[in-house]
């Protein structure tokens, strides 16, 4: 065959360590587990979730109510999307922004001297008698999760992702082996 043609830029993923996609998978599962547990513990008592948002005293009541009702289901849905690797990048962005918002909220509560429970995993943002807030740990934890989300955003979707199965991931599997495009037609015949 003499025909040569300019092959489109190779769709092959850039060379990377074979373990890297698995790191993304692990990151997805960690973030997913935290979100699903956090959402699951809150979703049974929406009014309490509303109260937890109000406890930060950052938002007007009506907005806090809307967020309090919506947050548990959003956490669960984003968690499930991350777990199965569907819309991975968007989900990672949403999860990262959520965590960032929590970091800001907790830091602001700390700075204003509020004594609240973060309400992260259920509860109404109220500390039990004799309990002290542990803002530093909460901030470090949530900030760590921001980094996990950032990793997923940079290296999506990882192994075992529906994005790959559905062909939604940015980096497609190479699917144009040499000669295939002629589909049986031999120009030199």
């Amino acid at each position: 065959m003499v025909l040569t043609y300019q092959k489109a830029a190779p769709d092959r993923p850039r060379t990377e360590h074979p373990a890297l996609p698995w790191v993304t998978t692990a990151a997805r599962l960690v973030l997913a587990a935290v979100l699903i547990v956090a959402g699951g513990l809150k979703i049974g008592a929406p009014a309490l979730s509303v109260q937890a948002v109000k406890a930060y005293q950052l938002l007007p009541d009506s907005l806090a109510t809307a967020i309090g009702y919506g947050l548990p289901i959003i956490e669960i849905v984003i968690g499930v999307l991350l777990a199965v690797g569907l819309l991975t990048r968007v989900s990672a962005v949403v999860a990262g922004l959520l965590m960032l918002a929590f970091v800001v909220g907790i830091a602001s509560a700390w700075a204003r001297g509020l004594r609240i429970d973060c309400g992260c995993f259920g509860g109404g943002g109220e500390l039990a008698a004799g309990q002290d807030p542990n803002y530093l740990w909460e901030i470090l934890r949530d900030f760590g999760l921001v980094i996990v989300a950032a990793w997923i955003f940079i290296r999506p979707p990882g192994r075992l992702a529906m994005d790959s199965a559905l062909g939604l991931s940015g980096r497609r599997e190479p699917y144009q082996p040499e000669g295939d495009i002629f589909q049986g037609e031999q120009p030199d015949a």
Binding site: A47, I76, L86, L87, G125, G167
Partner: protein
């Protein structure tokens, strides 16, 4: 056709075919993404709506069951002759979650008492150990103890939650408490001086500490049905709370 021309035409066809495939692939991807996004948004919307539905309060249907103030500062709300099941409500007037509970499930509790399905016992407590919340709570709770008439007690109790201050500021000032008492029609003789001098403060502190120790309370609000603590996922969902209490009475 010369070989060169044939090659050129094949090249063009290949390019066109690839372009078409690429476009088709793009459309398919877009369709998939949109489908997934629509499903996701529908689930979130549905969840949001369900959460709002779950948190809908009952309307107070008719009158209230008679309320009797006990000597230990608790108040019993029950229709005559109703002795079980017993719903104990442990709450601090300064606790925001208690306020939320009163707003969401308070009407259900009052309705159930009026329907004769439960005997309710209110236990006003002070759980806070820091300022300004501790003093706020003590002023409010000891003022409540100055009210002797049951109906007025409940009205003043509700007014306290309505006027709950932020946990970061001094609130429940005695002047306000006296004013609120007038507002809801408290007629107890000496109410004003009882509130201003916090005459019931020591008694309240004592009851509060004893109750928390005896009942092994971890926080407020705590609701106990026949002595057994009810889960948060029940007490903040009026329909679930009603079900739980009605079932306990069967």
């Amino acid at each position: 056709m010369s070989k060169a021309a044939r090659d050129a035409s094949v090249r063009a066809r290949i390019a066109a075919q690839r372009e078409a495939e690429r476009k088709q692939e793009q459309r398919r991807r877009l369709a998939t993404i949109i489908t997934v996004a629509v499903v996701v948004l529908a689930v979130i919307g549905g969840g949001w709506w369900y959460a709002a539905e779950q948190s809908k309060s009952e309307e107070i249907a008719g009158g209230l069951a008679p309320v009797t103030v006990q000597s230990d500062g608790t108040a019993v709300m029950a229709k005559a002759g109703v002795t079980s099941p017993v719903l104990d409500i442990y709450e601090d007037p300064q606790c925001p979650v208690c306020k939320q509970l009163e707003e969401i499930s308070g009407p259900t509790i009052k309705n159930l008492a009026a329907e004769g399905k439960v005997k309710v016992v209110y236990h006003p407590l002070t759980i806070f150990s820091q300022e300004p919340t501790r003093s706020n709570s003590l002023r409010a709770a000891s003022a409540l103890r100055c009210v002797t008439d049951g109906k007025q007690w409940l009205a003043f109790h509700d007014r306290l939650f309505k006027g709950q201050p932020s946990e970061t500021v001094e609130g429940f000032k005695t002047d306000d408490l006296v004013k609120w008492g007038d507002e809801v029609g408290v007629t107890a003789p000496g109410f004003e001086s009882c509130v201003k001098d916090q005459k019931q403060r020591a008694a309240h502190e004592q009851t509060s500490a004893k109750t928390m120790a005896d009942q092994k309370l971890e926080g407020t609000p705590t609701l106990k049905l026949n002595g057994r603590q009810i889960d948060n996922n029940t007490i903040f969902v009026p329909s679930a709370l009603r079900q739980e209490i009605v079932n306990a009475g069967k």
